[in-house]
């Protein structure tokens, strides 16, 4: 029988991969002997038989051998029996077949799980909205699930009257719903010096984008009678153990900041600040104070711990830049991306995300040759200010090595920089605010890996 291996859409393995792991290891370590050769032959025959039959490896939808695809020819059990009843899950869950897409911690990044971060699986997202259960987390002293009936929110400082609001109060006030990205200032920090992690989940996964609903902070500040002459800054403070504090300048506080209680149509999740958090569009996530309990209006910045020890940018001169908080224009290709594998030569849709803390995305260019030449990608709607924008690009992979990059431009005309351009200004010991162009190398096997290029 001639073995004709059809072009398969699945990861096509050398026949050795049908072998048991122990046998593979034994061959690797001790070489072949008669016994192992015998096992090898048997396994090889079984594997090629499976290939020839088309049952094990055929790509779903590809032309089958014989009469056709058994999945079409034979009625399946689920088509011949009752399905599950309605409301079996009062709060729906993703399909069990989607369980690979999870928030994940980076091993060794932090010693304590309460002051840690979980990364969102950007490699599996569609469109621009992050599902609430996959929104990245970053906590400073552990997350809490705070009874909303007992939550209080206070505004004090340079206001006519210091006031206390309950959740009932806040949810009666005029609300807005806006879609914004949130990105940790340390997102992509591992890549400042060199390539350090394998996949887009870990290089860029401290990024999420939701529709946040709440009361504009300006409404609340006006309700308390903010002293518009003296007020220069506000302090936002959390109600958890860390009592996280961040300074925000008054122009921004009165602009598009939201005291938010909902995201993507439901109340905030506990990990994201339930029942109340600050939304500071375009600004690094640490300023989006969770479990928000207080806003104080003042005339000077506070130099809080995370404004004086972390989230400051060390310059080559030895000076730290303090209060760097704008997340500048950035983009990343999410498919194909590091740790993934192209199944086959031919057509591929390159897709990714672009965003800017200074406004809307104007354009995204994509390169498949490491930045020598660029083509402009399609932007998918909606394109909103300080929000993720999805881009797509048609590409035919010829099977040769390639280096994919994306480069975003925002409405101010700012062009996303190369890593070397960032290092020229900020040196190599910076940590935060790495918005450099990301490069993904594709080798002849279709395997995608994280690289940096010059």
């Amino acid at each position: 029988m001639s073995i004709q291996i059809k072009k398969s859409g699945l990861l096509r393995r050398a026949p050795e991969n049908f072998l048991d792991a122990p046998l593979r290891e034994a061959i690797t370590e001790q070489g072949l002997n008669d016994e192992r050769r015998g096992f090898l032959r048997k396994s090889f025959a079984a594997a090629t038989a499976a290939l020839a039959s088309g049952a094990a490896m055929a790509r779903p939808g590809s032309m089958p051998e014989g009469d056709g695809d058994p999945l079409i020819l034979n009625l399946q059990d689920h088509a011949k029996s009752l399905g599950n009843p309605v409301v079996m899950q009062g709060y729906g869950q993703p399909s069990k077949f989607e369980s690979n897409l999870q928030r994940r911690q980076s091993p060794g990044l932090t010693r304590v799980p309460q002051a840690s971060v979980s990364f969102a699986p950007l490699q599996g997202f569609f469109g621009i909205i992050t599902p609430n259960g996959l929104h990245f987390e970053r906590h400073h002293q552990g997350w809490i699930d705070n009874d909303p009936a007992q939550h209080r929110f206070m505004i004090n400082g340079l206001v006519r009257e210091a006031k206390v609001y309950t959740m009932d109060d806040l949810m009666r006030l005029p609300s807005v719903s806006r879609m914004h990205f949130i990105e940790c200032g340390a997102n992509s920090a591992t890549e400042w010096g060199n390539v350090a992690v394998p996949t887009v989940q870990y290089t860029h996964g401290m990024l999420s984008c939701c529709e946040y609903t709440g009361v504009p902070l300006s409404v609340l500040l006006d309700d308390c009678g903010i002293d518009r002459k003296k007020a220069k800054f506000v302090l936002a403070e959390g109600g958890d153990g860390s009592a996280m504090t961040r300074t925000i300048d008054i122009a921004r506080a009165m602009d598009d900041v939201i005291v938010a209680y909902a995201m993507n149509g439901e109340m905030l999740r506990p990990e994201n600040g339930y029942p109340l958090r600050l939304v500071v569009p375009g600004v690094q996530g640490v300023s989006w104070v969770k479990w928000l309990r207080r806003i104080e209006v003042g005339d000077q910045p506070w130099a809080t711990k995370d404004e004086a020890i972390h989230y400051i940018d060390l310059q080559p001169s030895g000076l730290h830049r303090q209060y760097t908080s704008v997340q500048e224009c950035k983009s990343v290709i999410t498919t194909p991306s590091g740790g993934q594998m192209l199944l086959e030569k031919g057509f591929h849709n390159i897709t990714g995300l672009a965003w800017s803390g200074r406004g809307k995305i104007k354009r995204v260019d994509v390169s498949a040759d490491g930045g020598r030449s660029w083509r402009t990608a399609r932007l998918e709607g909606p394109v909103l200010g300080k929000c993720l924008t999805r881009f797509n690009m048609d590409w035919n992979w010829d099977g040769g090595p390639a280096i994919l990059q994306s480069r975003a431009i925002d409405e101010t005309g700012y062009v996303q920089p190369k890593i070397n351009q960032l290092r020229e200004v900020r040196g190599t010991k910076s940590i935060y605010h790495n918005n450099a162009i990301q490069s993904w190398k594709i080798n002849e096997d279709g395997e995608v890996s994280n690289v940096q290029v010059a």
Partner: protein
């Protein structure tokens, strides 16, 4: 910070200046209420660089050391130098830095890690953070005087204040003048305000942008599997799959041991100080298991130790009491520990 009489005063000023309810777009009757002065005082705990908000109090370096040894050293090391749980607080500053207000080591490569004292420019930042968030597992439990004392102790370790120093609200401004990196911050950059100017400029070249493309950094082989196996982190349908490192490469993916006891140990942050096998700050779990194996009273003694804390058995660094952990959870953890 703003007491009621002050508010009344500022109200009259505001009205005179033409600021009034007119500034408000609408009248939200019966929404929210005035905060009482006591409520404001209870929450208004922030301390600014100009020391606005700083309560009266005092604490000596010696008193600080006592608090430190009992409540801080387990995470930060006896001398604030520990890198085991959090980044070091003390180290990398010199007498010259105290004189100049700029930490010289920030420009060179002499310091492998930037410590808190190398970076922090304002003493208020230390005071405020210790007051609001420390000790890490029991925030806001220090008295005002203890916060002064611990701040003084840290600064003493860094050579900023003398051994016999007592820090108070009255002399804290003098301490500020000795902060090693007090002149080490700049705010003249465009990355804070929305209208600020970016510091990096790229152009949108489209063709022949580079002569050759050089790969300057690639993932080292050992790091390929450090974040797990990509095949388990990608969708099983669609345009791509995750690379299967268990098949595609010689590098083995080590699956983390999933065990209820370990899960609890992580949840309660025990793993911050205890390694599974080896000593971190405290002994490794395997070391504890080896020591108490065959001891009939091990469980009872260890439960007591976890709940009330202790010191001496494994070295000088004390174990802080963990009274908040449920008995059932302690038993689950101990059962797991003893099997290590």
């Amino acid at each position: 910070m703003y007491k009621w009489p002050e508010l009344r005063k500022s109200l009259s000023v505001l009205v005179l200046a033409g600021f009034s309810l007119a500034a408000s777009a609408a009248d939200y009757t019966n929404i929210g209420r005035a905060a009482t002065p006591k409520e404001v005082a209870a929450w208004d705990i922030d301390v600014r660089p100009d020391f606005r908000g700083l309560p009266k109090g005092r604490g000596s370096v010696d008193q600080g050391q006592q608090v430190w040894d009992g409540k801080c050293a387990s995470c930060h090391g006896t001398f604030g130098e520990s890198n085991q749980v959090f980044t070091p607080i003390v180290g990398g500053t010199t007498k010259d830095d105290v004189k100049n207000g700029r930490v010289a080591a920030l420009t060179g490569n002499s310091q492998p890690q930037r410590t808190t004292l190398m970076k922090v420019a304002t003493v208020s930042t230390l005071w405020d953070y210790i007051n609001r968030a420390m000790p890490w597992n029991a925030p806001k439990t220090l008295t005002t005087d203890e916060v002064y004392a611990v701040t003084a102790y840290i600064l003493n370790l860094g050579g900023v204040v003398a051994d016999d120093f007592t820090m108070s609200n009255e002399n804290i401004a003098e301490v500020q003048k000795r902060m090693p990196n007090r002149n080490g911050m700049t705010q003249s950059h465009g990355l804070w305000q929305t209208s600020g100017k970016p510091d990096v400029k790229n152009t949108a070249c489209m063709k022949d942008c580079l002569k050759e493309v050089k790969i300057t950094s690639e993932l080292p082989a050992f790091a390929r599997s450090a974040n797990g196996n990509p095949v388990e982190q990608n969708r099983t349908i669609g345009a791509v799959r995750g690379v299967d490192l268990s098949k595609a490469a010689v590098i083995k993916v080590s699956a983390p041991a999933a065990d209820e006891g370990l899960k609890l140990a992580k949840q309660y942050a025990c793993t911050a100080c205890h390694g599974v096998k080896d000593k971190v700050v405290g002994p490794g779990f395997a070391q504890i298991a080896a020591k108490y194996k065959g001891d009939a009273n091990a469980e009872a003694n260890l439960i007591k130790k976890i709940k009330t804390g202790g010191s001496g058995a494994w070295g000088d660094i004390p174990m802080p009491p963990q009274g908040h952990i449920k008995d059932a959870d302690i038993k689950t953890m101990l059962d797991w520990v003893m099997r290590q």
